[in-house]
């Protein structure tokens, strides 16, 4: 494991992008940072600039307007960068699959490392997913 990847798992800074979601996943992500769930116990912090991001939390079915912006944001993130698809829309486009304005699924655009299913996933599921990912990286897989 490279030193960069090792440093990544110590304290993951996440950057959250909503590209055409209904807000529920976004609210549940923010809910992880509030007192009951408090994901900061695991060193995870929400940050405001993609330049500092270790992980991107992406929600929503990608539409025509958000796909090019999404690619640009990913290019700006320092590598290595973990991409997490949160919620059913980001995983499989959910019920918006046959919409005229929704394009290809997220994992055909970016390399996705972690899928968190649910509509919306509970904060517990998001926390479990992120901690599992950290363990997996530490094992060098």
């Amino acid at each position: 494991m490279s030193i960069k990847t090792k440093a990544l798992t110590k304290s993951i800074w996440v950057f959250h992008i909503s590209c055409g979601s209904c807000n529920n996943c976004d609210i549940e992500i923010l809910d992880c940072f509030t007192p009951r769930h408090d994901i900061e116990r695991f060193g995870v912090q929400l940050i405001g600039s993609v330049r500092h991001a270790d992980a991107l939390l992406i929600t929503g079915a990608m539409n025509r307007k958000s796909v090019p912006r999404m690619k640009k944001i990913y290019e700006q993130a320092p590598k290595p960068c973990v991409v997490v698809a949160v919620g059913q829309c980001a995983l499989s486009q959910h019920m918006f699959r046959y919409s005229y304005n929704v394009r290809e699924p997220l994992d055909e655009i970016l390399p996705v490392d972690l899928y968190i299913p649910g509509c919306p996933p509970k904060p517990e599921a998001i926390i479990a997913g992120i901690t599992k990912l950290v363990k997996k990286i530490n094992k060098g897989k």
């Binding site: 807000n23 976004d26 019920m95 919306p120």
Partner: protein, 397 residues
């Protein structure tokens, strides 16, 4: 105006109801104009609805917005029931009460979410954490009744999908009792804390006449002294059988909007408690088979204001046309008067106050018009807003 500067805000932000894109035109510190560009969250829901049958559409419209995920299905089922002769004719009595309970619980969770965000914008993260901490019991109640924290899937044409169990009612009442002191806490904070008052009073004022001119709805209108509430003007659910008040504030500034929303929380708790007491026994679904041809309208007072759904039916099992008008669509436009004339540091707050909660994380930059150079980003704007609060706190302003 050679030194006019454009401040783009948006389009992506974690807490917006719809990703919106604001362009602030600033002259020094003053905001002189604002442009609002929407359409970043377009998923073609109205078109998708035409390909689904009447019982599938509630699941779809529920996902328009995660915060009002009971208002949209409610407005939709009301519009379909309008074709069948009205809600009170089709829906059993017990289902009406359950619908009102869900609708009011959602209003509580939405208002608390908004309150937390305002706290965050003015640099009081304590308010954010407390508001969201006290939102959790409300979500627990939802989980108990509907099985999910958000996206409740309770509404169907002719009734509701799940019953409230008798053994759940005492637990719900107890949770409501424990929740009421939290509202007192927030009301006390807004009334007594000089910094919060200083930060919110007189900011983003929308006068009564301006509110009428810009057709604002919901708490934004009621905070400007306009007496509208769809729950009273065109009653639905069990609301006519209950005792409650419409909250109206006069001033129209952000303090009035905040107070109006907090006082509304008390009314919500009152309504839910009465519903749980008065709820009759019986059926929860009338098992509607056929939808006749025609046109129907459903109006619901969502947490942000009036939400309208229009359904056109041709007698088949799919709607021929579904038209939706969400409350934020009218409220957002009122920023044109609310934010203009204020300072940049107040703009973040004013745009958020109508509750298409905006915060501008990633895609915001202040661009100097003459040189097209970025001089500020989204977090700088929130930081400016928070710094002003610090200055008031320390008595420098």
């Amino acid at each position: 105006m050679s030194h006019k500067v454009i401040v783009p805000i948006g389009p992506y932000h974690p807490l917006q109801e719809e990703p919106e894109f604001f362009q602030l035109y600033v002259d020094g510190e003053k905001v002189v104009d604002i442009d609002i560009i929407i359409g970043y969250n377009h998923r073609g829901i109205e078109k998708l609805a035409e390909s689904k049958h009447y019982d599938q559409v509630p699941y779809l419209v529920e996902r328009i917005c995660g915060i009002c995920s009971s208002s949209h299905p409610y407005a939709y089922v009301l519009s379909v029931e309008d074709l069948l002769g009205g809600e009170s004719k089709v829906v059993p009595e017990r289902a009406l009460y359950i619908r009102t309970v869900i609708d009011e619980l959602q209003r509580i969770h939405s208002h608390l979410l908004w309150l937390g965000l305002v706290g965050h914008f003015i640099g009081y993260n304590t308010v954010w954490m407390w508001a969201w901490k006290n939102r959790e019991p409300v979500l627990d109640m939802f989980e108990m009744v509907t099985g999910n924290r958000n996206n409740y899937a309770m509404f169907k044409v002719g009734g509701v999908r799940r019953d409230i169990k008798d053994e759940d009612i005492p637990v719900l009442k107890k949770t409501l009792d424990e929740f009421t002191p939290a509202i007192d806490l927030f009301l006390g904070a807004i009334k007594d804390d000089p910094v919060i008052r200083g930060r919110l009073k007189g900011v983003g004022r929308l006068t009564r006449q301006q509110a009428i001119d810009w057709c604002v709805v919901g708490p934004t209108a009621r905070a400007s002294g306009i007496d509208i509430d769809i729950r009273r003007d065109e009653p639905y659910g069990a609301i006519t059988r209950l005792d409650w008040n419409v909250i109206i504030e006069k001033e129209g500034d952000i303090l009035a909007k905040t107070t109006a929303r907090i006082l509304e929380l008390y009314e919500c708790v009152r309504i839910i408690r009465q519903c749980l007491d008065k709820m009759p026994k019986g059926e929860i679904d009338s098992d509607v088979k056929d939808i006749p041809a025609g046109e129907g309208i459903g109006r619901v007072e969502a947490p942000r204001g009036e939400c309208i759904h229009f359904v056109k039916s041709d007698g088949t099992n799919r709607p021929q046309r579904l038209k939706i008008r969400a409350p934020s669509f009218t409220n957002v436009a009122s920023n044109k008067v609310g934010a203009v004339g204020g300072t940049i540091s107040d703009a973040a707050l004013t745009l958020a106050a109508v509750d298409p909660c905006y915060c501008c994380t990633e895609r915001l930059a202040v661009i100097d018009k003459s040189t097209n150079k970025k001089i500020m980003n989204g977090w700088d704007l929130v930081r400016l807003c928070q710094e002003k609060t610090m200055q008031i706190k320390e008595g420098r302003l």
